[in-house]
């Protein structure tokens, strides 16, 4: 039935935008610091729970509360960076990646357990008054919250793009990503830039987590899942391309939900299959430029 197909395409796009937003933080952090933070998904989870608490305990609207959950993640990201990742920052790239994987896995487990304690293993959603509301276009049902989340994800990606392209600090971040030593010679404090990028990545995870919590749900074990999606998108989109990350997210979302129509048991395998295909055919990612 064509409506089913259209419906699942649309769901794919809606979730794909969140994949893009989740991945862009990971990509930014990796591109600039060469730290691969596999606890990125757990940061996203904490963003989700932050808005869950804000809503249930204080009655803060989840969309209105996005700046608050981002701020919470800024603090968490800062602590995480200062205590753990900043120690790796002077290592050669390969050691940095390897060690950051270890630290990230450890931190991921710890955060997962903290979440279990604080919020139990239950699935939590944010049930606002408008939570279930939908509208219909050409027979396709669209939940308001997910459409709003898509728009917000786009706005964040666009804002990030403008920040990196137009502002002095943004240019310094790109310079540091390209050649940190040359950046130092420009008078740029690269350690400050590393910290800023990490914290920015955490804040973006916070925003993504809120959107996931409000459109879907959160649980303590979700982090690994989101880290994996982000990694797939990162490889598809190429590091350092925000447009690529967005398109990568959308492609992943759409293929997953298309696959779910026919081979529902294997939807998560599809993502990995794409991942491997892209690695084989275009290792620099669909949009990543070759060096030079």
């Amino acid at each position: 039935m064509p409506t089913t197909v259209a419906q699942s395409l649309v769901s794919g796009i809606l979730v794909g935008a969140l994949y893009g937003l989740a991945a862009v933080g990971l990509s930014l952090v990796f591109g600039v610091t060469k730290i691969l933070n596999v606890a990125h998904g757990e940061l996203l989870m904490l963003g989700g729970y932050a808005s869950f608490w804000l809503f249930t305990l204080l009655g803060v609207d989840p969309f209105g509360g996005i700046p608050l959950s981002m701020f919470a993640l800024v603090l968490i990201g800062l602590i995480m960076y200062q205590l753990f990742f900043s120690r790796l920052i002077k290592l050669p790239t390969e050691d940095k990646i390897r060690n950051s994987l270890l630290i990230g896995f450890g931190l991921g487990l710890i955060l997962q357990n903290i979440a279990l304690r604080l919020w139990t293993a239950d699935n939590r959603g944010i049930t606002t008054a408008y939570a279930g509301a939908t509208f219909t276009v050409l027979g396709v049902r669209l939940p308001y919250v997910r459409v709003a989340s898509l728009v917000i994800a786009f706005v964040f990606l666009l804002a990030l793009q403008l920040f990196l392209r137009r502002t002095y600090i943004g240019k310094a971040i790109r310079a540091t990503a390209q050649d940190w030593e040359a950046a130092t010679l420009m008078g740029i404090n690269v350690h400050g830039i590393y910290r800023l990028s990490f914290v920015l990545g955490a804040a973006l995870a916070g925003a993504a987590g809120t959107l996931v919590a409000v459109g879907y749900s959160v649980e303590p074990v979700m982090g690994m899942h989101w880290t994996l999606k982000s990694l797939i998108v990162l490889v598809m989109g190429g590091i350092g391309s925000i447009a690529g990350t967005l398109v990568g997210g959308l492609i992943l979302g759409v293929t997953e939900s298309a696959a779910a129509i026919w081979i529902s048991n294997y939807r998560h395998v599809i993502g990995l299959a794409i991942f491997i295909l892209v690695l084989l055919i275009r290792p620099q990612g669909l949009f990543g430029a070759k060096e030079g």
């Binding site: 240019k171 310094a172 420009m186 030079g292």
Partner: protein, 233 residues
């Protein structure tokens, strides 16, 4: 203005500099020449703070640089054009220059400064919106120097600026360096092109195996027998 005294330095277990002492005066053009692997680049890395000495001291206008991180040293007035230029290839020519003026001091006078750099290198102005990665070898080197000048240095460190350039461009490059120096910017020039460097420089140092083995006016070194046989053939 710059004084290195008994500087020892190295990488991991490898000691590269064995008690380097050298001096650059206000507005001076000083050359540092020597064979491959002698420690010229390492010396410049020490001055810029990218590498810290294990012994000895580096002073700039009497202030010790030992504890200063590299970005502070730029702010204090020392800029380096590293080996190969290391421009930001993914960004436009103009963005590269803007980044050169990143320090608070330089940012205030960015516009005038950029005008001056464009005057020195009109080629860069023609290409200002082009991605730096598309520039030719000579243009890249110009951009690297222009970018360093954007920081308003009192002392400019140049690491083999003529490397890989066609002979005619090499000549232009040396004229350019002289012109920059005449604008009251002191220059410490590392060069493979020993004859040209010694002719240009007011004073020069010869470095071998991490030690200064010769020092004098450019002319004096040019006629110095061991230098002649080693570098000028």
């Amino acid at each position: 203005m710059l004084e290195l005294e008994g500087v020892y330095a190295g990488y991991k277990d490898l000691r590269v500099l064995w008690g380097i002492s050298l001096r650059v005066g206000e507005g001076e053009l000083v050359a540092l020449v020597g064979p491959n692997g002698a420690g010229k680049t390492t010396t410049l890395r020490i001055i810029s703070g990218l590498l810290k000495p294990t012994a000895g001291s580096v002073r700039f206008y009497g202030c010790s640089l030992d504890r200063e991180p590299p970005h502070r040293i730029v702010e204090m007035g020392i800029s380096q054009v590293p080996e190969g230029g290391r421009i930001f290839t993914g960004m436009s020519v103009e963005e590269n220059l803007e980044l050169g003026a990143f320090t608070a001091r330089a940012r205030r006078e960015k516009e005038q400064r950029m005008k001056w750099v464009y005057q020195l290198f009109p080629r860069l102005e023609e290409r200002k919106n082009q991605r730096a990665g598309t520039l030719s070898g000579g243009e890249r080197q110009m951009l690297a120097i222009g970018r360093a000048l954007m920081a308003q240095p009192r002392l400019l460190l140049l690491d083999e600026p003529s490397f890989g350039l066609a002979p005619i461009l090499v000549e232009q490059m040396f004229e350019m360096i002289q012109e920059i120096n005449q604008q009251d910017v002191a220059v410490l020039l590392v060069e493979q092109n020993v004859r040209a460097a010694l002719e240009l420089a007011q004073r020069a140092y010869v470095i071998e195996n991490g030690r200064i083995v010769g020092e004098g006016s450019g002319d004096a070194l040019l006629s110095f027998e061991s230098v002649r046989s080693a570098y000028l053939g």
